[in-house]
Each structure stands twice: as C-alpha cells, then as structure tokens.
C-alpha cells in the first residue's frame, strides 16, 4: 500500500511503510488524532448508555409507580377479604388471587402436558408432515391476538353451556399456553446432541426410553424454564378471560361458575369511581407483577442450578 492520503488529514490511515523518525508536526497530529478518537469514543458511549437508559425508563417508572401506589393497598385484609364497597378501603381481593391461581392451574394441567408432548414430537421428528404442519400452526397460534382466543373460547366453551365458568377461562389460557410451551420445548430438546441419542440407541435402548431417559432428562431444566416463563406470561392475560371466566365479586372456587381473576379485577376496579377500589386495583397490579417476576426468578434459578450440576449425581 502506498501513501496516497496525506497523514495531515485527521484520522486518515497512514499507509507509510518506511520507518522514519516522526517530526514535531507529526507528533502533534498524532496526539490530535488520539484526542479526536477519545472524544468520539466518549460521545458514542454516552449515546449508547442513554439509549439503554431510555429503554429501561418506562420499566423503572412502572415498577416504581406500582410499588408506591400498590404498597399502600397491601394489608392483611387485602389478601384475606372480599371486595366491599361499604368500607373506605374497599376490602380485599382474596377472591381474585385464588381465582387466578385456579385459572392458571387449570390452564397448566391441560396446556403443559400437551405443549411439552407436542414440542418433544416436533424436536424428535422434525421433518414429518405432521411436525411441519403443527410447527406452522403453533407459530400462527402464537401470533393470534389473545382477545381472539377469548372469543373462540366463548363460542366453544361458554355458549354451549350457557354460562361463564372457570373451566372456560382456564381452557382459553391453555389454548395460549400450548403453542408457547411447544415451541420452547422444541428448541431446548433439539439442542440435545444427536450423539447422545445415538449412544443410547447403540446400547440397545428402545426409542421411547431414549426419548424419556436420555433426551427428556437432559433437556428437563430448559423445559421447566420454558414452562414457567409461559405460565407467567398467561397469568397476566386479561382479554381471554373477559367473556370466559368473566369475573366474580364473591368468593368462588367452583370451576363451573364465573370466577374472579387478578387481571380482571384490575381492569374492573381501575376504571371504577371509588377510590378504595382504585387502590385495590393498584395493589392487584403489584401482586400480579410480583407473581410474574417471582416465576421468572424461580425459572432462572432452576436453570442455573441444573447447569452447575450437569452430569453430577448418580
């Protein structure tokens, strides 16, 4: 490379090959270049930092606001009592917390086995026609707005029986859960090296035992994490519950009746004219946030513990 560009042009790369003792003005140029680069570096760092901070700002504001407004609502009564308009505090939202637990429980019992089984099939038989079709459909289902899932659940589970119920709400959430879990399960199971499968098969393992004892067992921490994250995600869904679980101002643990749920309670009370109920909504939002965050943390811890123990233990 010959020196086409004069080194006096700031920042231009010097293509000089020959060694020369630098003269005074060249040293000055070099230090000016260094200064300019340092400035550019600081500016870029500042821009990136502020970009990241700006992106995190809404999250910090939401959490901060929820902590301030929501913690004011928290009390023993908040967790143990029903909503009561006659009290200035508005009572509690015990029914919504229990209802959400029941709804998520129903959804998990139905959705997790189906989703995990589907994901396992997708990963172990990736190229069959069934796999191709179900992979495509679960991607489509993942993209369907949750309110549409709610309408579907209403048509299938509510209209035929003539009333809202926890069953319908749980089923709507399960419909959301299945494609989420299927895809995360597929991802982590297909990460299990094919050499492990071959090792087991070459030892004389039947296919099904290879799938269960080698593939599933190796991928288990990832599957658990995926399932927990998916459950946390559906726990916060409101739209599918609007015309399935419907909500309930009273205590109900019957899966056959309309049931209260945290997102529904927040939705209903945040828009109410009573200050006590608005406070309840803030408290409910905080509880929901803590539940979801808690599930994510548990998922993280489970993964980390399993990762550090890979291969250990008999």
């Amino acid at each position: 490379m010959s020196s086409i560009v004069s080194p006096t042009v700031l920042g231009a790369p010097s293509g000089r090959r020959e060694r020369r003792v630098p003269g005074g003005h060249e040293l000055a140029n070099a230090s000016r270049t260094a200064q300019r680069r340092q400035r550019t570096d600081r500016l870029a760092t500042l821009l990136i930092w502020s970009g990241a901070a700006l992106a995190l700002l809404p999250l910090a504001l939401i959490i901060g606001l929820l902590l301030v407004r929501g913690s004011a609502a928290l009390s023993v009564a908040f967790f143990t009592e029903l909503p009561d308009l006659s009290l200035p505090s508005g009572g509690g939202i015990a029914n919504a917390i229990a209802g959400s637990a029941l709804l998520v429980g129903i959804a998990s019992l139905m959705g997790l086995p189906i989703g995990i089984a589907a994901g396992l099939h997708l990963a172990t038989h990736p190229h069959t026609r069934l796999s191709r079709i179900s992979r495509y459909l679960s991607d489509v289902l993942n993209g369907v707005p949750s309110i549409v899932i709610g309408v579907f659940a209403w048509e299938v589970f509510v209209r035929p029986v003539g009333h809202f119920s926890a069953w319908a709400g749980g089923l709507a959430l399960a419909v959301l859960l299945v494609p989420l879990v299927a895809r995360t399960t597929e991802t982590v199971v297909s990460l299990v090296p094919v050499e492990l499968t071959e090792a087991a098969l070459a030892l004389g393992f039947p296919r099904w035992r290879t799938s269960l004892q080698v593939v599933l067992r190796t991928a288990l921490p990832g599957i658990v994490t995926g399932a927990l994250v998916a459950v946390a995600r559906i726990a916060g869904e409101t739209a599918p519950l609007l015309f399935t679980a419907f909500g309930n101002a009273f205590w109900s643990m019957s899966p056959d009746e309309p049931i209260a749920a945290l997102p529904l309670t927040i939705y209903a009370y945040a828009g109410s004219p009573y200050e006590g109920w608005q406070t309840l909504a803030w408290g409910g939002a905080l509880v929901l946030l803590l539940l979801v965050a808690g599930l994510s943390v548990v998922a993280r811890l489970a993964t980390r513990r399993q990762l550090s123990r890979v291969g250990a233990g008999r």
């Binding site: 190229h127 090296p193 050499e195 492990l196 071959e198 090792a199 087991a200 098969l201 070459a202 030892l203 004389g204 393992f205 039947p206 035992r209 080698v214 190796t218 890979v310 291969g311 250990a312 233990g313 008999r314």
Partner: protein
C-alpha cells in the same frame, strides 16, 4: 490370547441405499470371530455404512433400504424375529466423538446391564468394574465413580464409552474412528486397549489413519465408492496389495 468362537459376521451381496443414493454395492465379506478388522478407504466410500449396518444403526436414517444378508453367527440380523435391541447389545458401538451421557461415570457404564434387568447391588457393581478394567480406565476412575463423566478428559471419555459398550459383554465391538479427535498419547492408549481386547471380542474399526489400521488390526478391508476392493491380512495388504486401487490409496496417491 483367549479366542472367542462367537461374533462371526458375514455380509453376503449386501447393498444399502440412502434414498436414491447407493452407499454400498453388493459387498460380500466374512469376519471371523475374535479378529480385529480395519475398514479403510477415502471419505464417503461406505466404511461407516458398512460398520453401522452391523448393528442396524443405518436404519436410523429415514429412507434407508438394503438388499442382501448380514449374518451374526448363524442368525440373519434383519430377520423378522430379531429384536434390534438385543442385537445392539450383542454388537456394541463406539463413536468418533466420545458421547458419555451427562451422568456419573458409574451410571454411564451401568446403563447396559440395567437395561438387561441387572438390579442395583454387587452384581451390577461387578459388571461395571469389570467393564472399566477391560477398557483400561479402572485405575483412573476407581476412586471417583460418582463424578460426572463429562469431567473426564477426551481420551478418558472415549475409553469410558468403550467400557460402556463392553458392559453388555458384546460379541462384536464396532468403532467409528474412535481416536480421530484425540491427541497422540490418548490415541496410543486406545490402540493398546484395542490390541489387548483382540481375541475376546470381534473388533471392526473404521479409521482414516493407515498406521493405526496397521497397528491394531489382523485384517484390513479397503473400500472405494461403496465397493469392497480388497480384503486380506493387514501385513499383506499394506506390503503387497493385489489391486492397483489399493496400492494407490495406501501409497497416498488419492483419498
């Protein structure tokens, strides 16, 4: 040297297709019990296919079909009544990349016997110990059987995989380039181990390393383009090849 009488393999007019591509063309070869046979040839010549046909691992590839027969001792391995799981326990396999399962050293070797219904206890411990001894790794792992298998070095992992295959007390041991990912020291240990195993189990080993083939095998088969070109005593094949293609390959003119 104890010479086993079980573990004879006989391929007769054996061909394999992966979909439309034919990987083996009417191969006929007899492998006597207790010998070590090396399969050599350029990449893609069908060595691994021939190896994997011995325990029907070729069937894992969708769209595989075959013609001809393979006899293990007196039984046709593709016969309807053959249980492929039992076959794979009689014909053990070690892969190019060591593949211990992410469990303890003990667990890895105990997999085979457990599958055969050996309960936890002294019998299982004995089986595991014996397999580890035969695979020349016992001295290195005796005091840490509960450690994760993945904590072992590459060479140790490969010998553990050999022990895992030996724990089923197989008649045939298949090895697919078992030392190609190992350093010279670890390779030497594997070769010594294979040398010691001769006579007690039929060994079929695929290798790209001709010196290795010469060191560990009694007989060598040269495959080219899915066809068996030549098979004979290792010393004879390397010094006085009958076929021009064999000579060209072992003198490094192609492949």
């Amino acid at each position: 040297m104890i010479v086993t009488t079980a573990g004879a393999l006989r391929f007769t007019d054996f061909s394999v297709w992966y979909g439309a591509r034919q990987a083996l063309h009417t191969v006929t070869i007899a492998i006597e019990p207790g010998i070590a046979l090396a399969l050599i040839g350029p990449s893609g010549c069908g060595k691994s296919t021939l190896l994997r046909a011995c325990n029907r691992m070729t069937e894992l590839v969708p769209g595989t079909r075959h013609t001809g027969t393979v006899h293990l001792d007196d039984g046709e391995i593709h016969a309807r009544e053959v249980d492929v799981r039992a076959l794979r326990q009689r014909v053990g396999m070690v892969f190019q990349q060591s593949n211990p399962l992410p469990r303890s050293i003990f667990e890895n070797v105990a997999y085979g016997p457990r599958l055969n219904g050996v309960p936890d206890g002294s019998e299982l411990t004995d089986r595991v110990t014996e397999a580890l001894r035969r695979a020349a790794i016992w001295d290195e792992v005796a005091d840490r059987l509960d450690d994760p298998a993945l904590a072992l070095s590459g060479g140790q992992q490969q010998r553990l995989c050999i022990a895992r295959a030996l724990a089923n007390d197989p008649e045939v041991l298949l090895l697919d380039e078992p030392a190609s990912a190992l350093d010279p020291g670890a390779t030497q240990r594997i070769e010594e181990l294979l040398y010691d195993l001769r006579g007690s189990v039929t060994i079929v080993i695929v290798t790209h390393n001709l010196q290795q083939a010469a060191r560990v095998s009694d007989r060598t088969a040269f495959l080219y383009d899915g066809r068996l070109v030549e098979v004979g005593e290792t010393s004879a094949l390397f010094t006085r090849p009958r076929e021009a293609q064999t000579e060209a390959f072992i003198t490094g003119r192609f492949g």
